[in-house]
Amino acid sequence: MNHDEHNRSGSLASRQLGIAGLYWFLASEAALFGGLCLAVVYLRAGSGDWSNAAAHLSPGTAIVATVLLVSAAGFLRKGSTRDAHGSVPWLLGSLGAGLGFLALKTLDFHSHWTEGFRPEVSVFWASYFLLTGLHGLHVAAGVIVCGWLTGRIWRRQAWPARQVWVWGTRLYWYFVDAVWLSLLWLFYLR
């Protein structure tokens, strides 16, 4: 593939193709979450006791969760400007923050569940669990990628595509944070 990398009109090196593809992938994800958010707005317009249900959400949990997610993005930002060796602590930081978010949300779900607030109770809870659950799956995917990245860099093999991968993970995390902020607006702001 070597001679593809020079002198091509509108052509990118193979590493950068991944970033182009990532942008399109995030566009499709934006359509997925966007569609779901609009669906929730539609259901909310037809729902009588949305605010009452939303009162059972814990703002404190939301604040801590937001801090964790934004920190993870911040750590990735720091990590992307370091060299291979220096980026590892920051990647681990993101990994930790992401895991912290997942742990927090799991506890949060559990407490809702034991209080009897389950998806089948009302359309508010159905929407809440579906969207935050789907978002959580995306955070989990991001955590896994962070872990994989850390492992690969740690093994100290020369890896030319490292910077692009870290940059891509950072972009993905910004997207995950943007979705989270949308969910905050959708469910926590009454």
Binding site: M1, G35, L36, A39
Partner: protein, 551 residues
Amino acid sequence: MRAFLREWVFSLDHKVIGKQYLAIGVAMAAIGAFAAYIMRWQLAFPNVAAPLYGLVDPGPYNAWLTLHGTIMMFFVAMPILLGAFGNFLIPLMVGAHDMAFPRLNRASVWILFVASVVLVASLFVEEGPAAAGWTNYAPLSIDPMYTGVGIGFDLWLVAVFLDFVSVLLSGLNVLTTALNMRAPGLSLGRLPLFVWTQVVAAVLFVFSAGPLMGAILMMLGDRHLGTGFFVVERGGAPLLWQHLFWFFGHPEVYVILLPALGILFEVFATFCRRPVAGYRWVLGALWASAGLSFLVWAHHMFVSGMSVRLALPFSITTIIISVPFAMVVFALIATLREAALERSTAMLFALGMLATFLVGGVTGIFLGSPAVDMYLHDTYFVVAHFHYTLFPSVVLGGFAGLYYWFPKMFGRMLDESLGRWHFWLTWLSFHAVFLPLFVAGTRGHMRRVYDPTQYEFLQPLLPIHRIATVAALVLLASQMVVVWNVVRTLWKGQRAEGNPWGGTTLEWATPSPPPAENFMRIVQVTRAPYGYEQTGSGVQPLPQWVERDAP
């Protein structure tokens, strides 16, 4: 065995993957065609056992009509037009060795295969496959008490979800390859229109699939987690499913149409021996129609019970969207002007598609008027309309592409005489099936009814069904001609040269079939596509490329 696995199952070559998409599409088309046969038999000879099947009961009839639509839209149209032709041709047309992400490409076709297996598996579950129409509206589809269907619908939901994942991943590949891997000299303004239509189609799918994928998750929740997204008693809204479905559903039909139009542009340019008229206008029209396609969806819902105030704006956008498509049609017609027309089967199918699609497109305008749609919605008029748009796109356009690119894909020339038989039998029988259905629709014949004769006012329309069914049997049987043509050609057909048709785009710069890496030397693009010049020995192509040796 290991060689088979390595070369076929695990191949990363976009050309092999493209053929795998073609194989899946054709196999699923056979099942979809069988479904059509069952439906047409029952409609023409109600409650008479169908040969090779038996008596068609109401429940199974609904299942077959659901499967027919689902398979044709998601497992035939997209795999063939996007997966097969897109994958095979895009790297060749932009001068690349392969798609941007070969492993993602392989994963896409595997996921499609799994999705197909899941859908076919639903045929064998106890309560049968999904049976609420390919649109599977809530609440009809949610609760087994309406259709009797159980896990069959869950399998449908999973199969469609996986299909969408496959097309999405494939779309990422198409967009990255077409926009970021072009050969030196191949500016966007010199890109073949086929590639542009694939790009626009991929963008359409990227932005439209999400809402329906979300809806599928919500539907699964309603069926298994007790949620009530679409169930009134649990605080939900059945209409929400329709909104989410059609927000995707309308761009989807352009995802299917555009690549077919792309095939037309290529075939027209080559066999008219002249550039496509109005390249830039066509490009603008493609993007305009893409944008507008997100603003028309509720024209499928005029009589759904949604707010009647929505009827006017959606009617307006629907009328407006006919403009860019009219421009595309005019560009194709204008391309026929001052054309040094070469006859070929591919050109026959292309002309057939244009003429047929025109009827389909125009009849859509009637449906875009709420006042008229009130009478025609859910009648056979709609069925005829969408077959007059989808059949030309998938079948006529698909065959135009097959006859045109068969030499490139398989290295041999299909028999042109058999091709002409195939075209006329297919095209004429198609009209005999669907033209009468417009009449049935305007006389009030509802769709998705397993035995129309149970209604007195529909009994006089039985002759229409008989004509349509006989014609449908001819249509199905006619496909044996192309099957025979393909088999015989692959076995001992005439070998093809690199550029048998005198094309000007980059795929014709390679041997037929191309070697694994596509281009043996670096290809430099020096001009726009579709250039032809009058010489002493007739109209000759001005290829886009010049080859240069590596420095």
